[in-house]
Symmetry: C2
Subunit: 356 residues, 2 copies
């Protein structure tokens, strides 16, 4: 296992530690920009040597620009990492499944607090990402725009005056931007409003995905809402339209929680209580069970039901319950059964510790 | 609601407070004797006036004999009780469903500590019951035999030299005795040994019933094992054969628990932990959910997993979670939804109180 991955796990994560606007419902705001170097083939048409050369050019540019806190940034070459370490990067939402699946020449630069990062040779040469807690897409846009400028000053991007930024996949051409907000929507799930609302949001041209990305289910009641189109609108127009959708969803979720508190209080309290009981006393815990229990407990924290438990601890657990993190913590590979036991132990001990 | 029922609920119950042999597995030992008065019709052929007269004769005899602690015993006329109060007597296993269904002329005398009682005009004129904690059928036999003699000294029983005691239903003719032990068998349920074992016990001529009596399911993993035959054997022979069966079942259950502790420890701990978590934090609790959670917690107590929780508290909850008890405690009728909330509140507060 890689020492830097261990250091990454141990270092404080700004997005988890800080609070942000509406963070009782909005977990985080994220923007990523797809960029490619001018004068190079898209990665599908590059051989291993070219991919490595592209990696060096971009990493050198990041260092020269001072972006991402480089040279103090993390710099991972994916093909040098074992499977668990690679999976840790995915679980921390720093690496995409695509990056993991094509490790040759793939590289990942990460600012020490994980607030921004660059995937190199994922689907495009660069995928610049920036992240903040809560609902604050404008601030994330300011930050990533600055980061993009810093890096661009050292590189020559593939850009067409009519189309905008050129990308490997046509769906990203134009701004190359995907903005998203991760929302925790247990209230709308409980009232049954979620499905029609998701359908409405989708019709407006935005994507709704579960916690683990494309096509995943609604485990933990976490949903990522993002723009679909990247062409024909400015970045700020896209962000404004998305922000309106997010504001509406947050208002709906607040309304659903108020309704539940007034009309279905026992059901609501029961779900929160049982969720806490499960995390506090179970000895075997599947990922799904843990995610759903954490969702219940997070709602309890939002409603002020706990005196010692806070969002920071819940957010941390939402990350640490995943298999690679558990195995990294254990310092060894674990069978699926052993992971379920380790996951329960982690949650049990974390919550028991609060009551000491 | 009847004040004596309130007093009954509030008074200490010897069988719950005391401990008995093997009470990690055996909840209680119980014997009942069916008796009828000579010179009177069986109750099916009596009118209301006759039933009342029979009630008076038996109650007077009990008082004269000093049995059941009379005249300080409880003396309930079933047709004077409302439905909730009658149901309380059933939930405390003092009255049978048959007694409740035919309240006219039905009467119930109860020793203040509930260790013995007499149902009057149930299926027979008298059904004398005696009960002790744990597995001690011999001691219960001594007690009920003494009680029977005390009452018999004041009454003339219907007895045939060849057949023995005459009873309304032919299945009780002879000794008129039904002996039973209530066992808590979560280990055998978890290992899957329960079903074949129950089949074996049934083939040997003993009955196995769930907690609520005839034909009920295995909620709470509580099973009552009793003799089927009452004819052709002495009382002590029946008790000896039943005791052998009970000893075997207790040994099997111990073996199952040892196996689980050695080979399936996480599954076992998980069940106990989640059961505790449910009772400690749920806000809505069905009877079935409560019984199964109490079963898990009882096993945890038996295994020494809890420092403050003891069998006495668990045994009390096993009784107090029932609907009539909850309504009696609330002092008012409760809808099914309200009962589930009251049941959860009772368990939550009882367990929270331990940790203060």
């Amino acid at each position: 296992m890689n020492d830097d991955i261990t250091r990454l796990i141990a270092s404080p994560v700004s997005f988890l530690a800080d609070s942000g606007p509406d963070d009782d419902i909005a977990i985080s705001s994220r923007i990523r920009l797809a960029r490619n170097l001018a004068g190079w083939n898209f990665i599908e048409a590059c051989d291993a040597a070219q991919l490595r050369e592209i990696g060096t050019i971009i990493a050198d540019a990041a260092t020269a620009s001072g972006a991402l806190g480089c040279p103090e940034c993390f710099d991972f070459k994916l093909d040098e990492l074992d499977e668990i370490d690679r999976e840790v990067l995915f679980e921390r939402r720093l690496a995409s499944r695509d990056l993991l699946n094509r490790p040759e020449g793939a590289r990942l630069l990460i600012r020490p607090d994980e607030a921004s990062s660059v995937m190199i040779n994922e689907e495009d040469h660069l995928r610049i990402q920036s992240l903040s807690p809560g609902f604050q897409l404008d601030a994330v846009w300011q930050e990533i725009n600055r980061l993009d400028d810093q890096i661009a000053a050292e590189l020559d991007y593939a850009f067409d005056d009519r189309l905008g930024y050129l990308t490997s996949c046509p769906t990203n051409v134009g701004t190359g931007m995907r903005a998203s907000v991760m929302l925790h929507l247990p209230g709308m799930t409980l009232t049954g409003e979620l499905t029609p609302t998701v359908q409405g949001v989708t019709k407006l041209g935005f994507a709704v995905r579960g916690i683990a990305g494309e096509g995943s289910d609604n485990r933990g009641n976490l949903f990522q809402i993002s723009n679909q189109s990247t062409l024909g609108e400015s970045e700020t127009d896209i962000i404004e339209r998305l922000s309106q959708i997010i504001s509406t969803l947050i208002a709906h979720e607040k309304q659903a929680r108020r309704y539940l508190l007034e009309k279905e209080q026992p059901t609501l309290l029961d779900w929160v209580g049982r969720s806490y009981g499960t995390l506090r006393y179970a000895y075997v815990l599947s990922t799904e069970d843990a995610l759903n229990s954490l969702s219940g407990v997070r709602l309890g924290v939002d409603l002020g039901m706990f005196s010692k438990l806070n969002l920071h601890i819940v957010n941390e657990l939402f990350r640490e319950i995943y298999s690679a993190h558990l195995q990294k913590k254990a310092g060894t590979e674990l069978s699926p059964d052993e992971r379920d036991i380790a996951r329960a132990t982690l949650c049990r001990e974390r919550l028991a510790h609060l009551n000491k």
